[in-house]
Amino acid sequence: MDTSLVLVLLLAPFLGFLFNVFLGKKAGKSIVGIVGTLSVFVSFAMTLYLFGNANQEPVVINLFDWISIQRFNVSFGFLIDHLSLIWLLFVTGIGSLIHLYSISYMHDDEKMHSFFAYLNLFIFFMITLVIGSNLLMMFIGWEGVGLCSYLLIGFWYKNQDFNDAAKKAFIMNRIGDLGFLIGIFIVGSLFNTLDFTSLKNIITTAKDINDFWIALAALALFIGAAGKSAQIPLYTWLPDAMAGPTPVSALIHAATMVTAGIFMITRLNFLFDMAPSVQNIIAIVGAVTALVAATIALVQNDIKKVLAYSTVSQLGLMFLALGLGAYEVAVFHVITHAFFKACLFLGSGSVIHGLHGEQDMRKMGGLKKAMPITFITMLIAALAISGIFPLAGFWSKDEILMTAFHANIALWVIGSIASIMTAFYMFRLIYLTFFNSFRGTEEQKNHLHESPSLITLPLIILAILSFFGGIISLPGNSWLNKYLAPLFSKVVHEEHQFGNTEYMLMAIATIGAIIGIGIAYKKYLKDNTIPSEDAEITGVTKVLYNKYYVDEAYDAIFVKPVNVLSSFFRDSVETTLSALIFGLGKVTNEIALQGKKIHNGSVGLYLFAFVLGVIAIITYLFL
């Protein structure tokens, strides 16, 4: 029963993919859209069903042995437990919403069918990633989603910059994947299995575990996660990934794929609990990423870039939580973040749609009359992400900060600053986009209009979710924590007692958020300052605007040297090596040429050599 369900759940998007690939062009755009969306919706329905009557026991489905290693087999199997169900819920849920959205958004693109094909494929791989029963199955999904993100970032392939962005994303992910693989190798050789359930049993029961190797494995796996979830130092691909169509940014680079890293670490929480040192690293990396990304987001003018960096920063917060062992908190924030970040992206998408592809906020403004729904929904989402009571973001972010506070004040400070900045740049975005007067061209001004219902509907739904999303894990009695409890080896550390500290923290957070919003209000609404043109940007702003020149640095440190080396090998080493081989031939030829001189045709010489030979032999033998 379950098996067939799961297979349907898994294969529905795949079938959609096949349909769109092979028949999409003929079928026509509307059919393509419907099929694509339906196929995802089917899996969503399946998920709901499973979610509805899921018992405590996780369901394991092994189809067949896939890869055989001498000491163990890796089965081609699936694992449905509470964690994967949670993820499935919002992957398929938000997935279907965004498909819906794309029907209208991509309607003018002549390659709509391949767009939907890729989206479906992505959902398929994402599901594989989530329900894989062992590390390698997860790895299939892991690389698969990477591939889809490559395809979708480079969707408009005629622009080589986009292609570069896509390539960059894929390769940076691959760097992480290598870490992942190494992690898999170590785990495999330590425990002779890659299966999550058996791993959990072994590790939780094992007495003497080699801490070093565990730590190494955890570290390697974390590198993998960092690659996928855009953490320092592997985060630079995410902002570039905004080259892809906006729905892609919403689905892949905000809501689902980039959370895969968190999913993986949560999946392997028992492993990471064994390696506190690595946990600290994770926490620190997360915090720093949150801060750095936030600072960059402060000054970006591309509406999607802002959102991208905010995503990075939010992911950083999640990793902070993971590092502190508060997996359920991280999950909570993943979910709420999925809601409001998807909403924000789609909103920005609708704005861009309205302005016919304009992304620079300096050329926007005053859109709130033109597109009210977009405005309202984005406002709600912005409030949510800034952590205003009682929206979803408030609860999740507050949980994280609280955990940080209890663990380490410094982390809490960093986190708080990051979230204050969040509030600032989000409202900077809101004000620049929707308030004051329109700064675009006349021609655009006349065409300003609210986006069609297919676009606004998902916005509304997501806005609602980002408003009420918090209820799934209210402090005190958290449904989510209870639901996830069976996953964690350690008992979920008890809910925070609501003493004064907690209330104080909440207050501080809220005040911080309000301050942030206030500054934005002062700067961009009252003074109505417009960010200056790229040329005029100076000082710290310039550094921030250029993202601390990290891309340039990477280029100088890694990419250029490799290419230089490559041409060096190609031009020097290769030629030298073959010259060496030819050299042998040349030498013999030279000898031959000299030899020809000796055979000079004079009988006298020949006879002389003859006699010499005779004498030599005789003397050598007999004297």
Partner: protein
């Protein structure tokens, strides 16, 4: 007959013919006139013939002397052929200097 050989001793015959042989060799090496080279080769052969005879006396058996006839006949045949070649060379080149035969080399 036999006692003469005993008086002189076989070694001396050997030395003599070796010396003759060497003279022949040097002749072949150092003279460039084909005719004289032929003659030097003849000297070599005859040196050997001499030794044959000496040995056959030493061993008291006739095979050696018979062999000398063989070798003489052969030498004659050889020289005949050689002279024939020489004639055609002289017709073509107008010289019998062995040193001029250097078209074939390398």
């Amino acid at each position: 007959m036999n006692n003469i050989l005993n008086q002189i001793g076989i070694e001396n015959y050997i030395f003599l013919s070796v010396i003759l042989f060497c003279i022949g060799v040097f002749g072949v090496l150092y003279r460039r006139n084909a005719i004289i080279v032929f003659m030097s080769i003849e000297i070599m052969l005859n040196a050997v013939n001499l030794l044959f005879v000496a040995f056959s006396t030493y061993h008291q058996d006739a095979q050696g002397q018979i062999f000398v006839f063989f070798s003489m006949a052969v030498a004659a045949a050889e020289v005949a052929v050689g002279l024939a070649i020489l004639v055609s060379i002289f017709r073509n080149l107008g010289t019998i200097d062995v040193g001029n035969l250097k078209n074939l080399k390398g």
